[in-house]
Symmetry: C2
């Protein structure tokens, strides 16, 4: 006999890449008995219905969350406060509210004032994603073997944290808890600044006069194309991330710039030893990432090789 799912009714607000992946996974891995999909966009609701991702699809957030045991906000971080306000007083006592935002401090500040009596907010962030957006882009194994960070308030009841943990572990993720402040610092360097410099170099390359856009595209296999993947991520989500995690991003960007100035100086003055030393040290980090199952060891990410003699 199948085990009873750890969550009875799961309400998802926002059915983009993340929300639709949670919906698919929650059903496939038996994490929730019933799934309610809430989205303000009629086109998204239509796709969610057509794909059969939820038991019920609605545009009315207040009504959609009313019987849920767990409500998960899967909207850009800049929209979390407005959704919390819209569902104010509509969640049932004992229910848990969570989210998937890439920034935690600002979301806690925006959501907390709108919490109803008896509802606990356990913020979360699954560190997973792809460069695609929307309900068609999701898939059930997006969170498999990836970390999910929870930043519960110190006085959060254990049962509330356990419910959110059960969701993510049911989806195959590894759960870790920390403070919102530390989360925002860690993600600034592992995710936000990498996205910023990827967006930036793609913009720089597009604006050159001496090198044509066609040349940038043709010769991108020399390294540039790796950056274009994350620079193709959802613009609204990422605008919100940078505006919401300003201080940590600028702090980490400052460090990046200091180091880059030192590298430029080594190049200008022909300091080959300094360059070689750094380039040797950075190899070890990748080995660590591969060893921890967060990256494939296959050459070139295991990319398919298109072209006349391609095998892919």
């Amino acid at each position: 006999m199948a085990e009873e799912p750890p969550i009875r009714r799961l309400a998802l607000v926002g059915l983009g890449l993340i929300g639709s992946s949670v919906a698919r996974g929650a059903r496939q891995f038996g994490v929730a008995r019933e799934i309610v999909a809430i989205d303000a966009d009629p086109a998204v609701r239509e796709r969610v219905s057509a794909l059969g991702l939820a038991d019920r699809v609605t545009g009315d957030a207040g009504e959609g969350v009313s019987e849920a045991d767990l409500v998960l906000l899967c909207v850009p971080v800049g929209a979390a406060g407005a959704v919390a306000e819209a569902i104010r007083g509509r969640m049932k006592p004992g229910a848990v509210l969570s989210d998937v935002g890439s920034v935690k401090g600002s979301v806690v500040a925006a959501v907390t004032p709108h919490l109803s009596e008896g509802v606990v907010f356990v913020p979360g962030h699954p560190v997973a994603g792809t460069e695609y957006s929307g309900p068609d882009a999701g898939f059930s194994t997006l969170f498999s073997g990836r970390w999910c960070i929870l930043t519960p308030p110190e006085d959060a009841p254990e049962v509330a944290v356990a419910r959110v943990r059960a969701l993510w572990e049911g989806l195959g993720a590894i759960v870790e808890t920390m403070t919102p402040e530390h989360h925002d610092l860690v993600l600034a360097i592992t995710s936000h600044v990498p996205h910023l410099i990827a967006y930036n170099i793609v913009g720089t390359a597009a604006d050159l006069e001496e090198v044509t856009q066609s040349e940038v595209i043709k010769f991108s296999a020399g390294g540039f194309r790796d950056f274009t993947r994350i620079a193709a991520s959802d613009p609204t989500m990422w605008r919100d991330v940078f505006l919401s995690n300003r201080d940590a991003v600028l702090e980490m960007l400052g460090r990046f710039n200091e180091d880059l100035s030192a590298l430029a100086r080594a190049i200008r003055w022909g300091d080959g030893e300094a360059l070689h030393a750094l380039f040797t040290r950075t190899r070890a980090i990748r080995r660590g990432i591969v060893a921890m199952g967060q990256e494939t060891a296959e050459a070139d990410f295991g990319r398919a090789r298109p072209g006349p003699r391609g095998e892919g």
Copy 2:
């Protein structure tokens, strides 16, 4: 009956990732009748022999190139001049010398003084590679569907250029010609600066006090891990690239920095419109790269997904 290979004897100097991939491809696709492998490192020669990559393996460059119709230098760009000097006067008249270096101006300057009468130098650069190094890392389809840039001198005999072109087209590459100066500018933005900032951010992340190395590794799926691939490339090759293409790299890095300062300012002052506009524009470049067959359209580069619920 099989067609006669376009090259009778091909001598490869340096059997790393690129040289060993040329050897494998030249044999598999019938590009050369005979392959001579030349490497100064006895351990590499042993692997090349064990893998059966060449008809003859030697450590004596002068002897190895003596009967070749085409000699291809597959060594770090900083070593090209020394190899050219070592084989001075040993290539036969009518033979063609080429290379695979990621920088062209400095290689032309280093090699040209050592050319023998009757030998033409047609510099080349296949824009392809992986993060792995050495003779075991090569594979025959590395150049399939990738561009190879040739920078022949204006007075180069057509027959000499045609021989080098035949090699690369035989390996599945698309050949384009340009000046060494333009090559170095194009590659500075499509390859050299991307590598530099990848090496840099991996170094910055490794040096933080507030965020542990273990955290950087665990949460790398947020974007950081994409950078670690190219930051795992061969340190000697890349040291030489930066020292050899200093001016173009510093020029492109200057533009990158100006743009990054503007982005940082937009973040500091909360200019969400400027951020959104850039993040939207950069998506188009990736679509162009995918459309031109230089990148997979699969989410996440089509990476295998390890982990408890992974399908990969």
